[in-house]
């Protein structure tokens, strides 16, 4: 990529580095990398203006494989680095990548704050429900009872839902994708990129070594259609192999439930129409985690607000205005001064 004349239009391959990829063969991270590279090509990202920032973990190796600027930082803190990068240069297009341990265990607080501040970055959380790099301990998204080297009799903790958590922190863009869904993932990433402010994308990712098949019950070909519902703004929340099921809001119990769509179609069956600007609907959809309901994928929530960068820019403009051109010298000379003569 170091040629000086920019190529006509870059392909996904042009965004890949020459570094040997060091994930385990078969790791879901490969698929996510592919989707990201495709997205970058698709949005015609300027490599010189793009930065990938990550913490530590298998997922956090990501920047090494993208031919943009990259900063592989320390465990859990990538959102804080990203905030600093954006504050120093708001023009840069910043992607933050990390695993469920990185972003929800040690880094949960920084995730919360980058979200609530609405810093204009894309946050990609690769959720494999396990600590990959440190060899398989339970993570904050691991299901209760997960047996791991640190929880040989099964973990006692209740897992946290990444998407529900960021909604609680005030997220304005929340989406969920699946590593293996190469068709859908770039679309989600593109939406995340287009959203101004903090965009949060959870990608369910298979760790073939330490948690193989943990999402099989929703991603296996045979069950995928029944176990996933794709959120599309303005469209009814329909799922099932034949599109014969839908999500309905029970207004009595204020809970979601699955319904069979009869002959009269989704509307008649009371199927909810997805409104991606509705925070409560998003919270309910993001939180669907029991067997009776499918898992929501796609753009669950998108309701842009003022980004941190814009707020800072306004504030700085105001500071400049108020300063009336005062420079350092005039500040140092302001107030009481006196002269000691020779």
């Amino acid at each position: 990529m170091n040629d000086l004349t920019p190529p006509e239009k870059r392909t996904a391959k042009d965004y890949a580095t020459d570094q040997e990829v060091r994930w385990c063969p078969g790791c879901g991270d490969y698929a996510i990398l592919r989707a990201v590279l495709n997205t970058l090509a698709d949005i015609e990202a300027d490599p010189a203006n793009t930065v990938f920032v990550s913490g530590i973990g298998c997922a956090a190796r990501f920047p090494y494989y993208v031919e943009t600027y990259g900063f592989h930082t320390i465990h859990g803190r990538a959102p804080a680095f990203a905030t600093g990068i954006k504050l120093a240069n708001p023009e840069l297009d910043v992607w933050v990548v990390g695993g469920d341990g990185d972003m929800l265990s040690i880094g949960g607080n920084h995730l919360m704050h980058v979200i609530r501040r609405n810093v204009d970055v894309q946050v990609l959380l690769f959720n494999n429900e396990i600590y990959g790099l440190t060899k398989g301990q339970a993570s904050p998204t691991s299901r209760a009872g997960t047996r791991s080297p640190s929880t040989p009799l099964g973990s006692v903790d209740n897992p946290v839902s990444a998407c529900v958590f960021v909604l609680g922190a005030g997220a304005r863009f929340v989406a969920r994708g699946i590593d293996s869904q190469q068709k859908d993932l770039p679309g989600i990433l593109k939406r995340a990129h287009a959203h101004k402010g903090a965009s949060f994308v959870e990608v369910l990712q298979n760790c073939i070594v330490y948690n193989d098949g943990v999402f099989a019950d929703i991603t296996e070909k045979a069950v995928a259609a029944d176990r996933q519902v794709v959120c599309r703004h303005g469209e009814p929340l329909v799922f099932g192999k034949d599109g014969d099921k839908g999500i309905r809001l029970n207004t009595e119990t204020l809970t979601l439930e699955a319904v069979d769509i009869g002959e009269d179609g989704p509307e008649a069956a009371g199927v909810l129409v997805h409104d991606e600007t509705n925070r409560i609907m998003a919270t309910m959809l993001a939180g669907m985690d029991d067997e009776s309901l499918p898992v929501a994928v796609g753009v669950i929530y998108c309701d842009p607000g003022k980004s941190y960068g814009d707020g800072m820019a306004e504030m700085k403009a105001e500071a400049v205005k108020r300063s009336e051109g005062a420079d350092l010298k005039s500040i140092m000379h302001a107030g009481h001064t006196w002269t000691v003569a020779d």
């Binding site: 990529m1 170091n2 040629d3 000086l4 580095t17 570094q19 490599p47 010189a48 203006n49 930065v51 920032v53 530590i56 920047p63 090494y64 031919e67 943009t68 600027y69 990259g70 900063f71 592989h72 930082t73 320390i74 803190r77 804080a80 680095f81 990203a82 905030t83 600093g84 990068i85 504050l87 120093a88 240069n89 023009e91 840069l92 607080n109 920084h110 919360m112 704050h113 800072m312 504030m315 700085k316 500071a319 400049v320 108020r322 300063s323 005062a326 420079d327 350092l328 010298k329 500040i331 140092m332 000379h333 107030g335 009481h336 001064t337 006196w338 002269t339 000691v340 003569a341 020779d342």
Partner: protein, 625 residues
């Protein structure tokens, strides 16, 4: 109100003021009494009068302790004189005690024969009890060793401001100005600056401004007219011999903020300052937040770790990232600082030291983070450590920190402390155009580029800035190849890189001034070696003893790591080295390890600056004992 207790023996004669070389005044009152403001005003007026001076604000840990308690006492001390003033003073010559608690707390350090100005209006039974007095010190002989000037300041203030129709509360709030007016009289200080300041501060409430001015004038008038104790005619302190130039007073925080801004300007970089509030570091954040029109971005992060990381992120993208905290917060930043130094990014870390360990004594000063600065990270992780010695010194050290950080692509830890941060001193405003710029050159040439290419002389790596075409690269905290900049787990490479990182920092010793001697000879019986805010008392103590014919020198270190190249030789040219520190002996350990000299520690870990006499005693012990 208890009986007014006035000892008025002789009429004051303004024309026959006593000539003094210097004086130490301490204003003490309840937290709500505005003692810090009072002291600040007195400082301004004294500076304008041409004295040299040093101050020491000393306030309670509580935001607002209950009224009248001893732990709610807030004090402000100023030492000023016709000669160079090196410290805020040991014992006081004048104590202003606005209530019994203030008297109780401060009296032990009023010198015998000193003047105590008392507001008898607050010496009621309730306040006496709160202060822990069984009998009134005004009456039981407690004050016999002193010269007492007692007025019902509260009452007289209310009287003076009557015409402005204030509430009793607001009226009483003017009593600090009454006291200030009296002290102004005592030292023949002009009231003009305070008058102007009050008018500006209460521009929207002129009646408050006027009441305060009236109170000040009343206090001043009382000096003219009241009968004062025997021998008190007011004092005169001649102007000091001071380098010519334009002066102002400045606190360490202000000077540091400006120095950092100036440093960034000289480096031609935007400044990104990320911090998290903590006493006594927060004022630096506050100061810089007011300078956002000067290419400064300030960011109050969610914690110290995020602040450090955001600052490093800013440096990564081509600004100069800075962060600050005090001890416990700096501890939290250790891991992130390790990344900055291993990724070789510039970073300024300001540590406003305070009493520890742990939460310790948050509002008291201490110099106990030297170990943490030099050694306090995992692995072999050297960085640059600088220290400031006074408010005005902060400006220069701020610039130097930016110069070294950007020239050597390294974190710089800048050690200051709560005392320096809050103390004010007169400062000759430097000529901003006289500083040599040191603009950063970002690498833009893709040919042969990798991110760990080094300058063969400084060993600094190149600084490639995101946004630059064709310079895309990846960096991080995993060891990287000396030759390619890529991740490398190779054994010999790690050895080499560790050595290079150390050599880069060690080499800075060649780029800093040789260590000089502040006072005394460059060899001899005894060198007193200090760093940081002990500068003043050490300097004065050594000066005093040199004047008494003693063979003693003062050496003051600005550069803690690396140490100046000639320091070892210099120290070896003295028979003995004494290292006074406001900690349990940290610099002394460093000097012993580096130069194998049997340096003697002198430690004071009480959150209070050294007294000159304490250092004099220690010197005499060595020279004579």
């Amino acid at each position: 109100m208890t009986k007014v207790h006035q000892v008025l023996n002789a009429p004051a004669d303004a024309s026959s003021r006593d000539e003094l070389e210097s004086a130490v005044v301490r204003f003490a009152g309840d937290s709500g009494d505005g003692m810090q403001l009072t002291g600040g005003q007195f400082t301004e007026a004294t500076a304008l009068a041409g004295n040299d001076l040093a101050t020491f604000p000393d306030f309670p840990a509580e935001i607002r302790a209950p009224v009248g308690t001893t732990f709610g006492v807030s004090s402000f001390q100023i030492n000023f004189g016709a000669r160079r003033i090196m410290t805020s003073g040991d014992d006081f010559d004048v104590l202003v005690a606005m209530n019994p608690a203030a008297l109780k707390v401060e009296m032990p350090r009023l010198r015998k024969g000193g003047l105590v100005v008392i507001d008898t209006g607050t010496f009621n039974e309730r306040n006496l009890a709160k202060a822990g007095y069984d009998t009134s010190p005004l009456e039981d002989g407690t004050l016999d060793p002193f010269r007492v000037i007692s007025f019902d300041i509260s009452g007289m203030t209310q009287e003076a401001v009557k015409e402005f129709d204030l509430s009793k509360k607001d009226a009483l709030r003017c009593k600090n100005m009454w006291a200030l007016g009296f002290v102004y009289w005592l030292f023949a200080r002009p009231r003009k600056t305070t008058q102007e300041w009050l008018n500006a501060k209460f521009a929207k409430r002129p009646e408050i401004a006027n009441a305060n001015i009236a109170a000040m004038n009343a206090g001043h008038a009382m000096g003219e007219t009241a009968e004062l104790p025997a021998g008190v005619h007011g004092f005169h302190i001649a102007p000091a011999e001071i380098e010519p130039g334009l002066y102002r007073t400045v606190t360490g925080t202000e000077a540091l903020a400006w120095g950092l801004v100036k440093g960034a300007e000289l480096a031609a970089l935007e400044l990104m300052f990320a911090s998290y509030p903590i006493t006594p570091a927060s004022p630096l954040l506050h100061s810089l937040a007011k300078l956002q029109h000067l290419g400064v971005t300030t960011f109050q992060a969610e914690d110290e770790i995020a602040a450090a990381c955001a600052a490093i992120g800013a440096s990564y993208s081509g600004a100069i990232g800075m962060t600050s905290s005090s001890g416990p917060g700096i501890a939290l930043k250790g891991e992130a600082i390790g990344l900055a130094l291993s990724a070789e990014l510039p970073l300024i870390v300001v540590n406003s030291q305070r009493g520890g360990p742990s939460t310790g004594l948050p509002t008291k000063t201490e110099q106990s983070d030297l170990y943490q600065a030099v050694y306090g990270r995992n692995a072999d992780a050297p960085l640059v450590v600088l220290s400031t010695r006074s408010a005005s010194d902060c400006f220069e050290v701020g610039i130097e920190a930016v110069r070294l950080a950007t020239k050597y692509m390294t974190p710089v830890m800048l050690l200051t402390d709560g005392y320096i941060a809050n103390a004010a001193e007169p400062w000759r405003i430097p000529d901003l155009d006289s500083y040599e710029p040191f603009p950063v050159t970002f690498i833009t040439e893709p040919e042969g580029f990798h991110p760990f290419l080094r300058d063969p002389e400084t060993l600094a790596r190149v600084w490639p800035k995101p946004g630059t075409p064709d310079m895309m690269h990846r960096i991080g905290g995993i060891e990287r190849s000396y030759d390619t900049g890529h991740i490398s787990y190779e054994a010999d490479n790690h050895h080499k890189m560790t050595k290079v990182r150390a050599a880069k920092i060690d080499g800075i010793a060649r780029d800093i001034p040789a260590q000089d001697v502040e006072l005394g000879k460059t060899s001899g019986k005894l060198a007193v070696v200090g760093w940081g805010s002990t500068y003043g008392p050490i300097n004065r103590a050594v000066d005093n003893l040199i004047n008494r014919g003693k063979d003693v020198s003062h050496i003051h270190l600005r550069y803690i790591w690396p140490l100046p190249e000639n320091l070892g030789e210099l120290l070896n040219s003295y028979d003995t080295v004494l290292v006074p520190e406001m900690n349990n002996g940290q610099l002394v350990t460093l000097l012993k390890a580096e130069y194998l000299i049997d340096a003697k520690p002198l430690n004071k870990i009480s959150g209070q600056p050294f007294k000159i006499s304490e250092i004099e005693d220690a010197i005499l012990d060595i020279l004579e004992g």
